[in-house]
Each structure stands twice: as C-alpha cells, then as structure tokens.
C-alpha cells in the first residue's frame, strides 16, 4: 500500500542527502511542506495519493537538478559534510560519483603520506589546527573542483 508520508520524507531527504544535519533538516521540512501543498492541490483535482505525489515530484524537477542547484550554495564546510555523508553512506550509485570518490581517495592518501614524511611530530602538535583550517580544507575544495573538471573532460565510457 502506498504510504504518502514515507514517500514524501524519503524524497525530500534524498535531495538533501549531502548536506550538514541542521541545514538538511530544515531543507527537508521546507521541501516536504511544498510537496504536501502540491499533493493537496492534486487531491482536490481528483487524483489519488500516489498520482498526486508523482505529479508533485515531477513539478519539483529531478532530484539531480535540485541537488546540483543546492550544491551552488555550499560553503567549504558544506563540501566537507557532503563528502563525509557520502563516505558514511553506501557507495554512490552513479559511475561518475564512484570515480570522483576513488580519485579523492588516491589524491588524499598521497597527500597524507607526503605530509607525514615532511612534517615532524612537533610541527603537527604546534600547527595541527592551523594546518587543517588553512591548508587541508582549502586544498580539499580545490582538489574537489579540479577532479570534477578532470572527470567531466574524460570521454564517456572510459572509467
């Protein structure tokens, strides 16, 4: 049997899956309210719950488009949250996301090994937080953008 509340919650959560918890929670509530408004309109026009839900989702746009649009608002912390959410969850479904994740793993494993060879324990103890804030987080953002561009340029079909 079609469970409207569950479908609305699942769809709204999927759109905000890569966001930090607080932002995602508010976003989900806001999107859910919108979906329910549109569903109520559909019901008033004589549609069943399921039909009204499907129609409302189509009106919202694809979840891929929405996620891309939401990503434009992402702060550096949001980028870290998104990656953390991805690492925490199952492997991404799309081949592009899996390639991006693998590329990140290789780049950052290399960087961390290089850092451990260059930095002494004393340096890390003194500058640990600064290292993370001033070097690793900006570097993460830059590498994320560069990898995305590089992967986009690769011809389709080449993994």
């Amino acid at each position: 049997m079609f469970d409207l509340d569950r479908e609305v919650a699942t769809w709204s959560a999927a759109v905000h899956a890569g966001r930090c918890q607080a932002a995602a929670g508010e976003g989900v509530t806001e999107l859910s309210d919108h979906l329910y408004c549109e569903i109520e309109r559909g019901r008033a026009a004589g549609l069943s719950d399921e039909e009204a839900f499907r129609a409302a989702v189509v009106r919202m746009g694809t979840s891929g488009e929405l996620t891309a649009e939401i990503a434009k608002n992402r702060s550096p912390l949001g980028v870290v949250c998104r990656i953390a959410a991805k690492l925490d969850g199952p492997m991404p479904a799309s081949a592009e996301d899996r390639r991006l994740l693998t590329a990140h793993a290789v780049v950052w494993a290399t960087l961390l090994i290089a850092s451990s060879m260059v930095l002494t324990t004393t340096t890390v103890a003194k500058t640990g937080l600064l290292l993370i804030l001033l070097i690793y987080i900006p570097l993460w953002q830059v590498s994320d953008q560069l990898l995305r561009r590089a992967l986009r340029k690769r011809p389709a079909g080449r993994a």
């Binding site: 509530t29 919108h34 608002n73």
Partner: protein, 116 residues
C-alpha cells in the same frame, strides 16, 4: 515552445527580482511565491518548483531576505520569508536595470538610430 513562454535563461535571470517584488508585498513562503508567479504570468512562466528554494536560500545568505518558521493553517511547519533592508535596495537596483533594458528595447523597436 509557446511564443509567450519565456526561455530558461530569461526565467533564471528574472527569478530574483520577481521573488523580491513578491516579498515586498508581504511575507510569503515557497509554494505561495510560485503560485503567485504562475498566476501573474497567466501560466506562461513555469518554474521547476524545487529550483526556487536554492535561490531563496542564496537570498537569505546574502541577507536580502530573512527567514522564520511558522505554522500553516493545517498545523504543518512552514518556512516564511520576509524582505530585508538590503533586499529592498537590491530590488530597487534590479528594477532600474530591467527598466533600462526595457527602455533600450523600446527605443530599438521604434527604430531610433544608433548614435555610434
């Protein structure tokens, strides 16, 4: 595409002034804003509904609008938006730009020669 249906680019470019103009008339929320645009355009202006929210959140981030939570008539939690001082200024700037563009188009339509 119907000749009166604005292109995707025009819809995107006009989204901010439209949202700010609607909020100038009073506090509102996402669904109502979309309905208002649809109603005013006679159904010609079609937004993918979900696209509105990232734009609203950007406006909130830039302090053009302020968001607050309230309750809908049916008791559901709802996020409302109100125009902020910076938003009023931004709206004024955007209106001037659109009016300028409109004036240029009108002049060209009337066959005013270019003064180059």
């Amino acid at each position: 595409m119907h000749p009166m249906t604005p292109s995707k680019d025009l819809v995107a470019a006009s989204a901010v002034p439209l949202i700010l103009s609607i909020l100038q008339q009073g506090d509102s929320y996402g669904y109502a804003i979309i309905q208002k645009v649809r109603e005013l355009s006679g159904g010609d202006m079609e937004w993918a509904d979900g696209m509105l929210y990232p734009i609203l959140h950007r406006l909130e981030k830039r302090r053009f609008v302020e968001a607050y939570w309230g309750l809908a008539d049916n008791g559901r939690k709802r996020k409302y938006y109100r125009l902020d001082r910076a938003g009023i200024e931004e709206l004024e700037t955007q209106r001037q730009q659109w009016n300028k563009l409109h004036a240029i188009l009108r002049q060209l339509e009337g066959g005013v020669p270019c003064s180059i």
